[in-house]
């Protein structure tokens, strides 16, 4: 599904992502863990087109996506969410979801005149889809609320909701559990598992080890810009190198 080959991203002399290669297999929920500053979010940002890689390649299925701008990568079926939620604050939850639908005819400014009827029909379809997604994520109650008035956890759900509007093949989730209360976290984990069973592949960064151990297989471990190891969660948990990385020891 997603293949990263020898990816490098550096800022001056700091190699935030240093020759990282891995494959996310179709249908998996692959976890990405590592101490703060390991380069996980930079890796996400580079895969999703926010940064241009300095070296290396990224493939989504057969298609090379490295070097493409973020909006093109989205259109090819790879969506990401953000560690700190980025909702469209002055828009309602419903509008946040509706704007994310791909291929909207009405996004050409002249179609308000020449294709009014088709645009309205498509708007109805998009709205129905958004209502379904909101129900799935339990956001129906706040559909008409401005996104800025939601709690941090709900904003994370809005991000997931926006990602779902495009029927993506693969979603990169950046810490879906951070700053979320325990009961909402259970719900988010549950929704991710449900989406995965419907065929969406996930790559997710998470610090909450319960979430990682429950959801992810395999798990990738990053430290200091490099991929430390990859394996099933049990193996990763018991590996001494992982412990060293988290506790400040130098990786072998």
């Amino acid at each position: 599904m997603l293949e990263v080959r020898h990816l490098v991203k550096h800022f001056g002399g700091l190699y935030a992502v240093d020759d990282v290669s891995f494959t996310v297999k179709t249908g998996t929920i692959t976890g990405l863990i590592g101490p703060n500053g390991a380069g996980k979010t930079t890796l996400f940002h580079t895969i999703a087109g926010g940064y241009r890689p300095d070296r290396g390649e990224v493939f989504l299925g057969p298609k090379r996506i490295s070097g493409l701008p973020p909006h093109r990568i989205f259109q090819l079926g790879l969506v990401r969410t953000f560690q700190i939620p980025k909702p469209f604050r002055e828009m309602t939850v419903l509008e946040n979801l509706m704007v994310a639908a791909p291929g909207q005819l009405g996004e050409r400014f002249w179609s308000a005149w020449v294709a009014g009827r088709r645009v309205r029909r498509q708007e109805r379809e998009i709205r129905e889809r958004a209502v379904q997604v909101m129900e799935f994520l339990n956001l129906g109650r706040v559909a008409q609320e401005l996104a800025k008035n939601l709690s941090g956890g709900q904003q994370k759900l809005v991000e997931i909701g926006r990602a779902l509007m495009s029927d993506p093949q693969c979603i990169l989730l950046d810490e879906p559990g951070a700053g979320v209360n325990p009961s909402l976290l259970v719900e988010i984990v549950d929704r991710i598992a449900e989406l995965n069973s419907r065929g969406i592949t996930f790559l997710l960064i998470e610090h909450n080890m319960d979430v990682v151990m429950n959801l992810c297989d395999p798990v990738l471990v990053m430290a200091q810009g490099r991929l430390l190891l990859e394996g099933p969660p049990d193996l990763v948990r018991s590996d001494s190198r992982v412990l060293d990385a988290y506790l400040g020891g130098t990786p072998a």
């Binding site: 909006h71 989205f74 980025k86 828009m91 996004e107 495009s166």
Partner: protein
């Protein structure tokens, strides 16, 4: 027609011309978050384009003698092309660079107008600019032109509202709220921002063309940065993000501007009267500060959702 009435016609015509520029700025700043502080530049391009296209070559000036309607459309096209030129290099940059670029460009336009007499008449300006519907409703003292300007306001208002409340307008708001998130959801921020800049600038160009047609004489002195300041004051007072706010703000700010001008002239001792222009600016500045402190969303600010209510499901559905 009595003096008061004809003054009222003059006042309303000017306010309506300003309001078209203000509607354009609302699309750019209110809806898209483009920090254009070179409004006077786009206004000037429209005014000069209209003048050059329509002035009769028989006057000995650089004119093409086109019909007035072609002149109005040509002015919009010229301002739009100009915005395209400005936008392509600057809209990929961060917001503040657009601000720097636009203010520089507004001053450049004014300098070109001053220093290219073959094209613009230089400091002497251009005169005998044709006015549409001149002579219609004979003896009405400009009512016919006022009606024409109001029709233009209505058309621009309706066209912009239609686009603002379409999915296109929804993407603009998304980009205004968070450009990174919008691009990660498949929207090309650059392309949408460029469209917004060009369309808003076309409104500013039309505003400039109508100004040239109204006054019938333009010179570089008409396109000072103070114009940009006035249009911004109108939008912020009226309510950034709202087209109706832009209209109301234009009327209110222009009323305060003209009334205060008269009052200051009457109240100040003769020695201070030369500074009356500065006092007008101070008054509007003070008003702006009060609005930002006590009613930051303006008179008719962003209370409505970004998309028209008709496309939003009712509570029971949701």
């Amino acid at each position: 027609m009595s003096g008061v009435l004809s003054y009222l016609v003059f006042f309303l015509t000017t306010a309506a011309i300003y309001s078209i520029a203000s509607l354009g700025l609302n699309l750019q700043w209110g809806r898209t978050g483009l920090f254009n502080i070179g409004v006077s530049g786009f206004f000037a391009v429209g005014a000069y384009a209209y003048a050059i296209l329509t002035i009769s070559p028989l006057t000995g000036q650089p004119g093409l003698g086109w019909p007035v309607l072609a002149g109005l459309l040509g002015a919009m096209v010229a301002a739009g092309l100009f915005a395209l030129l400005v936008g392509i290099p600057t809209l990929r940059l961060r917001d503040d660079y657009l601000a720097i670029a636009t203010i520089g460009i507004a001053i450049t336009v004014q300098l070109i107008a001053t220093n290219e007499p073959e094209l613009t008449g230089g400091t002497n300006g251009l005169f005998a600019i044709p006015q549409p519907v001149a002579g219609w409703l004979h003896g009405s003292g400009g009512v016919a032109f006022l009606i024409l300007v109001l029709i233009c306001v209505a058309l621009v208002y309706l066209a912009l509202e239609r686009m603002i409340h379409s999915p296109w307008g929804r993407v603009l708001v998304a980009i205004r709220e968070d450009e990174t998130a919008a691009s990660s959801l498949g929207k090309s921020a650059f392309s949408f921002r460029l469209q917004s800049l060009v369309i808003g600038s076309m409104a500013m160009g039309l505003s400039g063309a109508l100004y040239a047609a109204f006054i019938k004489f333009i010179s570089p002195q008409d396109f000072l940065p103070i114009f940009t300041f006035q249009v911004w004051a109108m939008l912020i007072l009226g309510g950034s993000g709202s087209s109706a706010g832009a209209l109301l703000g234009s009327l209110v700010v222009w009323a305060i501007w003209t009334l205060s001008g008269g009052l200051i002239q009457a109240a100040l001792p003769a020695k201070l009267q030369v500074d009356s222009g500065a006092i007008q600016i101070i008054l509007i500045g003070l008003l702006l500060m009060l609005v930002i402190l006590f009613r930051p969303s303006g008179l008719l600010g962003r209370k409505r959702p970004a998309v028209h209510r008709s496309t939003v499901p009712s509570k029971e559905q949701a």
